[in-house]
Amino acid sequence: MSENTLTIDGKPVHFKDGDTIMEAAIRAGIYIPHLCHDPELKPQGNCKMCEVKVNGRNCSACTFPAAEGQKVLNNIKELNENRRIIVQMLFVEGNHLCPGCEKSGNCKLQAIAYSVGMMEYRFPLIYPKREMDTSHPDILLDRNRCIFCEMCVRAGREVDGKEVFAISGRGIGNHLIVNSPSGLLKDSLLEVTDKAANVCPVGAIIIKRHGFEVPIGQRIYDKKQIAEVSVATEKVLEEKVHG
């Protein structure tokens, strides 16, 4: 094998110096499930969906550096079962009523749940009480659906140059807070064109007045699996950002 090569599920993958396993996989057109990775943002390893086995040990592909000769396992039964359980935990710890959610069909959490065959919740539902913030003229924040991936937090800080969102509290008390004198979105610096307003993988941050522009049943993941969609879109972005 040539220099800078590892394998993912037996397939040789070339990587560049400084790549994480996720970056190498994206460039090679291999899908490793993820909810909190975006080529434009620094990886943080929050969602644990990208857990892979590297030479027999479990690691987050988005933060683990690629190295010569690594044997990475990704699309295997054991890991996909872990992913299903993580997704089930995300569903029961929030309030995910998909039939009433504008993100349905375009939602990455739902799409991963479909692709790992989640038919049920497995755990008792918590039904936590979470606040909505409808104050902003263009943007809706529904904390019921927040999965604490911190995409909005990081996009604000790293791309928009604004500290709008942060996660406060610990464990089950986690909640998304807004940086403004009133704590409301309308008094924050968030604008509809910001990356932070458009990066949420689920239906927690929604741009107003675009509801049902695309009918249910014709949305991104209604017909295509997230693996296919992700490979097609993220490779371009990855090459643009990291070459």
Partner: protein, 180 residues
């Protein structure tokens, strides 16, 4: 010919949308009658399950005391119990009231809400008592299979039931799995 499978169906805290969608199997219902016969169901108006039923389809979550009795009757009679649709699986939209104390829900509907005259909270021995919260059915009884969707499509019903009738574990292809 092998004996027909007995199917029972009911709606607990549901909108009957799942039942309507079941009927979207359209003319395949004629083929279905070669495989199954209906026991307790709003489609037959039979009020109680026979002692032995092969497949029970439950639409809707558990909202009140009558739902609890019905669900237990189904579990007792049905060899295979299927949670059908979003509400049976996660409480669905009726579970939106889980964030509001029951007293406040009742007050809004019957005492203080818009356009109410003669305000009083209904209370009659004939009326089932509301539970404090809406529950998905797997929190009360063991559920064998889950058929998601709001509602699941006619094709999803067809696939599930024909798989079961063929003695297979029901599986859905990607395009028949929906939570909405």
């Amino acid at each position: 010919m092998a004996e027909k499978l007995k199917i029972a169906t009911t709606s607990l805290g549901g909108c009957f949308g799942c039942h309507m969608s079941f009927l979207d199997i359209d003319e395949r219902i004629i083929d279905l009658f070669d495989l199954v016969e209906f026991d307790r169901s709003p489609l037959t108006d039979i009020k109680h399950c026979s002692e032995y039923v092969d497949i029970g389809l439950i639409e809707g979550g558990v909202c009140n005391s009558e739902n609890v009795h019905t669900l237990r009757e189904f579990r007792k009679s049905c060899k295979v119990l299927i949670a059908v649709g979003a509400c049976a699986i996660n409480g669905g939209l009726p579970a939106l009231r889980n964030f509001i104390p029951l007293e406040e829900c009742l007050a809004e509907s019957y005492l203080t809400g818009e356009g109410i005259d003669n305000p009083q909270i209904p209370s009659d021995i004939e009326l089932p008592l509301l539970l404090d919260k809406v529950h998905p059915i797997h929190e009360l009884v063991k559920v064998d299979y889950f058929l998601p969707g709001c509602p699941p499509s006619g094709n999803a019903f067809w696939r599930f039931i024909t798989d079961l009738a063929a003695g297979k574990t029901p599986t859905l292809p990607y395009d028949l799995v929906h939570y909405d």
